[in-house]
């Protein structure tokens, strides 16, 4: 494991170096939001404010072209149409610098679904295996933060290849994975062993600053137990306006939709983020919709994250506690309180 | 035609079947020579023209959009062009805030008998669009220029 020190002034040059070999993605302030964008020359990333969106699209773009296609006509019989397909896979090396621990950890939720022993999503894997994460620790929790409720921490390394700890005059960079080590080979980085102690102190402080987490071990069972309790979900979802802000900002929401868009003789197959808060999400071709109301839909979102997913993935909750869904919800729906209400709800009497 | 000294531009026309499409036919029957940039889409009534069709065309790269219907009070469906008049006027006034030159869109009233007028409309509008030149395409290039500009401001 390498420990290096990056002086404040060397940040931009270091990123510029990285950008020569990697698609380098950094948080950037745009208008009133902080979003992930390719590193642009001479432009310092926004590392202090928490990014508005998660870095999800670095590996799982909002709109991903899975393939392009082209019709050609049989010369003998123009009524016959031939189809040429071209798969689109992005295997270019990439690095995300400056996302939070929780954001990087979000991809672990994806991995359990998209890269299993049985099935692998090739497009996902292509990017996942070629993308590195340099995370930055959170010195102080926001009012919406709850990573420690769901097994994370402000200094968590479970999704990181390199971890950055901010000091007064720069950052301490530690490689967490082997793949992360080459990122620290730059001559712009100094040996960081002498600063490791300071960094550790800051990390310790950060962890201590987290308020105590409630015990969610009962959550999977309790949430599932409420499956039939419509009144509960109706009350909890009353203020939800069924938009997709929570799912689209979430680092762990991995649902998608596939559509073909074509024009003339050519077209593309697109994979776009989908949103279980939307009416169309479960709309069936017959016109039947198994989740007709927002109560059904919010139940799914909370249920999936805190019950259905952990039930089939070794108890791993599919939430990293980044708090974006709370902070950016137009009506401040608070997933924490829903889970706590579920845990506190009296057991359903047998029907 | 004089308007087409440069290369052709993309002009989309939405014409009501009863008056303006007929007027364009009448212009044809009269052999009134017109520039060739315009591509006409026939709709039953100017009231059928959702302003979004115009916007869709402009967003998709049309250099100009021309809408034409029956003269007010002379609608085959009695009221269609009254609605159209309001919607199209609002649309025309809306364009500047989008950063789209409102001169790229025009609406007019031409009856089935006004072949000569139709020729004038096509000629005038086409010349105007040629003066404005090709519309900026809302693509990656524009995005890059936009960003450069945002940076400069």
């Amino acid at each position: 494991m390498a420990v290096k020190f990056l002086a404040k002034d060397n940040l931009v040059p270091w990123l510029a170096e990285l950008a020569e070999t990697h698609r380098t993605i950094v948080p950037k302030r745009e208008g009133e939001a902080v979003v992930f964008r390719p590193f642009a020359k001479e432009e310092a990333p926004e590392l202090s404010a928490r990014p508005t969106e998660s870095p999800k699209s670095a590996i799982f773009p909002q709109c991903d072209t899975l393939m392009s296609f082209r019709y050609t006509k049989d010369e003998e019989d123009p009524g016959k149409v031939l189809l040429d397909l071209r798969e689109m896979k992005d295997e270019s090396p990439a690095v995300v610098v400056g996302c939070r621990s929780c954001d990087a950890a979000g991809f672990n939720t994806f991995d359990r679904v998209y890269m299993t022993d049985k099935i692998t999503d090739q497009n996902y894997r292509a990017r996942r295996e070629n993308t590195l994460f340099v995370t930055i620790i959170c010195e102080k929790p926001a009012t919406t933060c709850f990573c420690n409720w769901v097994g994370g921490s402000p200094t968590d390394t479970s999704g990181a290849d390199v971890r950055m700890t901010p000091l007064e005059d720069g950052w301490v960079l530690e490689s967490i994975t082997e793949k992360g080590e080459p990122l620290l080979s730059s001559t712009l980085l100094k040996d960081g062993d002498d600063r490791a102690g300071d960094a550790e102190k800051i990390r310790q402080q950060a962890k201590e600053r987290m308020p105590e987490a409630p015990d969610l071990s009962e959550a999977p069972g309790k949430v599932l137990a409420l499956f039939e309790n419509n009144d509960f979900w109706e009350a909890e979802s009353a203020k939800c306006i069924s938009c997709g802000a929570c799912t689209y900002l979430c680092p762990t929401c991995y649902c998608f939709n596939i559509t073909d868009e074509s024009s003339g003789m050519e077209g593309v197959r697109l994979r776009t983020w989908d949103n279980c808060m939307s009416h169309q999400f479960t709309m069936e071709a017959s016109g039947h919709n198994p989740r007709p109301t927002k109560a059904h839909r919010l139940k799914n979102r909370v249920g999936h994250k805190f019950s259905y997913y952990p039930n089939i993935h070794d108890g791993n909750i599919s939430c990293v506690g980044c708090g974006r869904c709370i902070k950016s919800c137009p009506v401040s729906v608070d997933i924490r309180s829903i889970v706590l209400h579920a845990i506190a709800a009296p057991a359903e009497t047998e029907k | 035609m004089s308007a087409n000294t440069g290369s052709e531009l993309k002009i989309v026309g939405f014409l009501c079947n009863w008056c303006s499409y007929g007027g364009a036919d009448t212009a044809g029957v009269g052999r009134f020579q017109q520039p060739t940039d315009l591509r006409i889409i026939r709709v039953p009534c100017s009231g059928r023209i959702d302003p979004l069709f115009v916007l869709k065309s402009l967003f998709n790269g049309a250099d100009g959009v021309l809408v034409s219907g029956c003269h007010p009070r002379d609608c085959h469906y009695a009221e269609g062009n009254f609605y159209a008049r309001r919607r199209l006027e609002v649309l025309k006034r809306f364009l500047p805030i989008l950063g789209i030159d409102e001169r790229r869109f025009e609406y007019t009233w031409v009856s089935a008998s006004e072949g000569q007028k139709w020729k004038t409309v096509v000629q005038t509008f086409t010349e105007r669009i040629h003066e404005l030149g090709p519309a900026p395409k809302l693509d990656q290039c524009l995005m890059e220029r936009a960003q450069a500009m945002a940076m400069a401001v």
């Binding site: 689209y248 009506v331 | 995005m143």
Partner: protein, 317 residues
């Protein structure tokens, strides 16, 4: 008894005849209020009324059509109710409107711009004079007008235009609205305007919070944005496509938008969406002398016409 207490009493009085009353309560931090659905007297006790009550609760009404619902509104929110009634999207008999004179609400975004991050808000004291926000143990005070929602600066409807239970003294002050935001934006060069929207819209994540927060976007589940028939939009996330949705939204609201600003407020990435609708309202006011949501008996101008229009010149060539 304070106005708020009187209001609570009135709600409690009417609650037995209603399925619920929608108001606000304190949210997850001291700066954030959140909608409150009151079904019991205990719920009513949690009701708040202060400059943090930013949400336009009329948004919920079309979705609750058929139920007996009470709703607490600010002056501006009442215009949405009028517009909904006018368009027969809700039944007058099914709703009870509670209101108090509104002196304005804050813009959370403006406060964020002032204090940098909203992640650490510890306490907020807000009245119509000053807003004091404590972050990390240190307090900052702002003059209310500096952090009030922009719509409050041009408010003409402090008092609800429609209410069944009104508590307090009506405030009939009317500020001027000169649409200077629109005109100054339009004074910028055309290419810059285009560039502005392309840059802003690039950030859009297509969550449609703008649409779902809008009280008058009544298509909701059947919005053309996510339909193949009609197929107005593709599923691409190209800026052009994302922007086109905003243009659809604005056009669909032309002559109907009451400028509550929920679209802009709800946007998680802070795109100034209200500007488009303000522009349309400006033109519609000029053309038809019409302000949406002020008269129950009128018709949105784009669903009506005059044989001889007052302000539209017949176009001739």
């Amino acid at each position: 008894m304070s106005n708020l207490d009187t209001l609570k009493a009135k709600i409690k009085e009417r609650l037995p005849d209603l399925d619920m009353v929608v108001g606000w309560e304190q949210g997850f931090d001291p700066l954030r209020a959140t909608p409150l659905f009151m079904r019991t007297e205990e719920d009513v006790d949690r009701l708040i009324w202060n400059p943090l009550c930013v949400h336009n609760l009329a948004t919920y009404l079309p979705g609750l059509k058929g139920r007996k619902v009470g709703v607490v509104v600010k002056g501006c929110d009442s215009r949405s109710i009028i517009e909904l009634l006018q368009e027969k999207l809700i039944n007058r008999d099914d709703i009870v409107v509670f209101s108090m004179p509104c002196e304005g609400v804050v813009s959370v975004r403006k406060i964020q711009n002032r204090i940098g991050s909203l992640d650490y808000v510890e306490s907020v004291e807000a009245d119509t004079g000053t807003v004091k926000v404590t972050v990390d143990g240190s307090s900052q005070s702002f003059g209310f007008p500096d952090v009030a929602a922009s719509k409050c600066g041009r408010c003409q409807y402090h008092t609800a235009l429609l209410s069944d239970e009104f508590v307090g003294e009506p405030n009939n002050e009317k500020a001027e609205d000169d649409y200077s935001d629109v005109t100054s934006f339009e004074a910028r060069p055309q290419e810059e305007r285009l560039a502005f929207w392309m840059t802003e819209m690039q950030r859009c994540i297509q969550c449609y919070a703008c649409r779902n927060a809008c009280p008058l976007c009544v298509c909701r589940d059947h919005c053309v944005a996510q339909s193949r028939d009609p197929h107005w939009m593709t599923q691409e996330n190209s800026t052009q496509n994302k922007w086109f949705f905003q243009v659809i939204h604005a056009m669909h609201l032309a002559g109907r938008c009451t400028e509550c600003g929920e679209c802009e407020r709800a946007c998680p990435v802070g795109i100034p969406l209200l500007l488009l609708k303000r522009k349309l309202n400006k033109e519609i006011e000029e053309l038809f002398d019409y302000k949406a949501g002020t008269l129950i008996d009128s018709t949105p101008p784009l669903q009506a016409f005059k044989v001889e229009e007052d302000n539209i010149n017949e176009r001739g060539w």
